[in-house]
């Protein structure tokens, strides 16, 4: 114990890195789990929580020079205390047996150099083929994004008990592993990578157009999805053209994030988004990933979706968009895995390339799809085309249908506004 504390030098007017606590939670829980073994995840969680509480406590009157290093040191000290205390009751890995070995092992595990290795190990361990998709997502949100069970429940409109049950199932599964394996040692790396990418895709979508009606766009989840995807590129075993394709897709979509809602929190359709406010740096990063994704011998779903998103963000306007290429991508996507949403988007692209009537025909042909008849954007799309064909009465009827089905105020008000723009005598 230090009685005269090295007083945190009050660094006025500096700010903490955004989401530092969440990111360090993810970093340190993964790192400590590698040391204490997956059967002791709760111990790792307690250590990290204690470290964050003491940071919150100690920094009330000023930040330390290096907040991240401060948290790591606090976790390091706490981990050593708790492991020593628990040593009699639990079996830890042999490298924790003596004090010197313990200190050295913890030091190395928590060092920033090991940061991506341990988070990758954790991500691939939780995307276990024996667990379902919802559980993969929940465990990623808990251990790799640092969200509490309550926060995960709020994001997905699921009650906290359900989230706790999934965490419990995940812990049980992890307990069967003696150690958190490094990704280089995983025999089923390919299958796990597909699960990881799918979970990250869902995570991104939850941030881009999420299920919480009061807060449908949460950029931090998109940022986390991109951060974790790019982590996969740090290790040889997990770097893969598909990963670059997914990262490209995230970059292109994230570049448009700030223009998707207006200042009243209402969805802005693509045609009305201010393209000058799209994030150029993000688009460049996406183009870099897209170029690197082209090294493989196959086109994954992520390649196709990234290709479509790319055409949108590099086009100077709706009219100057390369709809031909976009329709080509949708065509292949539909061949690989047809879905009504893919068909809807294809129809809208056809309307731009071949004219309103061609688009209307395609949309009408989809009217029997049960998933689309409940999907507000299907009706809004039909309404948009009717409006552009000057059939304002039909447009109004379809917008009203979209309003009935709207899942959030952001959607509803967006459709209401379009009704207001109609000319109906």
């Amino acid at each position: 114990m230090t009685l005269v504390d090295e007083r945190p030098a009050a660094v006025s007017s500096t700010e903490l890195v955004e989401d530092l606590f969440r990111k360090e939670y993810a970093h340190l829980v993964s790192a400590l789990t590698r040391v204490v073994g997956p059967s002791n995840v709760p111990l790792a969680e307690d250590v990290v929580n204690d470290a964050l509480v003491s940071a919150m406590h100690a920094w009330r009157f000023g930040l330390p020079q290096d907040p991240k290093a401060w948290i790591i040191r606090a976790a390091h000290n706490r981990a050593i205390d708790i492991i020593r205390r628990e040593q009699r009751h639990r079996s830890f890995l042999p490298e924790l047996a003596t004090t010197t070995a313990l200190t050295g092992t913890i030091e190395a595990a928590l060092a920033p150099a090991a940061e991506s290795v341990s988070q990758l190990a954790m991500m691939f361990a939780v995307c276990d083929p024996g667990l379902n998709r919802e559980t993969h997502m929940t465990l990623i949100l808990r251990w790799l994004c640092g969200l509490s069970p309550k926060e995960i429940g709020q994001a997905f409109l699921v009650d906290t008990q359900t989230i706790d049950r999934r965490l419990h199932r995940g812990r049980g599964r992890l307990r069967q592993l003696g150690r958190l394996p490094d990704v280089d040692d995983l025999p089923d790396i390919g299958a796990r990578r597909d699960s990881v990418l799918r979970s990250l895709y869902l995570l991104f979508n939850e941030g881009y157009h999420g299920s919480n009606p009061d807060d449908p766009v949460r950029p931090f989840l998109c940022e986390d999805a991109l951060r974790l995807t790019e982590l996969l590129l740090d290790a040889k075993a997990t770097a893969h053209p598909d990963v670059h394709a997914l990262a490209a897709l995230f970059c292109f979509d994230a570049a448009r994030l700030s223009t998707r809602l207006d200042e009243h929190g209402v969805f802005v359709p693509l045609v009305d988004q201010d393209r000058s406010r799209w994030d150029r740096a993000r688009i460049e990063r996406g183009l870099m990933h897209l170029a690197r994704s082209a090294t493989g011998d196959h086109m994954s779903r992520w390649h196709l979706e990234a290709g479509i998103a790319c055409e949108h963000v590099i086009a100077p306007s709706i009219q100057k968009t390369d709809w031909d290429r976009i329709i080509g991508f949708y065509q292949v996507l539909a061949q690989q895995s047809w879905s009504p949403i893919v068909a809807l988007n294809r129809a809208l692209a056809v309307a731009e390339r071949d004219g309103i009537d061609a688009g209307r025909r395609e949309l009408i042909a989809l009217a029997g799809e049960p998933k689309l008849s409940r999907y507000p954007f299907y009706w809004a799309a039909r309404a948009d085309l009717e409006r552009r064909a000057d059939c304002h009465t039909a447009a109004r009827e379809y917008y009203e249908q979209a309003i009935v089905l709207a899942r959030s105020p952001a959607e509803r008000v967006s459709f209401e506004r379009r009704i207001e723009s109609l000319e109906i005598s």
Binding site: M1, D5, A10, S12, S13, E15, L16, D19, L20, F21, R22, E24, Y25, N49, L52, V53, S54, A55, M56, H57, A58, W59, R60, F61, G62, L63, G146, L147, S148, K150, E151
Partner: protein
């Protein structure tokens, strides 16, 4: 002097982002006081500690109070009056998680 008791540190159910959001409110608060020209010096106290008592100077382990009453830190600043100091104490972020603040004038030994 403001003496802070309890608050977020007594809670065990806060998420990483809640902890970060809370500490940001605190240091912005002390920055803001400084900007208003109220030079202030805050001290955060750590746990556990010890207590030394009586003739025999018996040492016992801390903490000595229930967590909601535990002193977690203090801050000294200049105020025009007790009411002025109370107004400052009212703006402290600690109440968000059930903390309390004791406001006490520091005596001046000078004549």
């Amino acid at each position: 002097m403001l003496i802070f008791r309890g608050g977020a540190v007594a809670r065990h159910d806060l998420s990483p982002s809640e902890l970060q959001a809370h500490v940001e409110k605190w240091y912005r608060w002390s920055d803001e006081l400084a900007r208003q020209g109220r030079r202030n010096a805050g001290t955060a106290l750590d746990n556990p500690g010890a207590a030394v008592r009586g003739h025999e100077r018996v040492v016992t382990d801390g903490p000595y109070a229930e967590s909601k009453d535990l002193v977690t830190g203090s801050m000294i600043f200049e105020a025009a009056s007790l009411d002025d100091a109370i107004d400052v104490a009212r703006t402290c972020p600690t109440y968000e998680f059930g903390g309390s603040v004791e406001v006490r004038p520091v005596q001046d030994p000078r004549i």
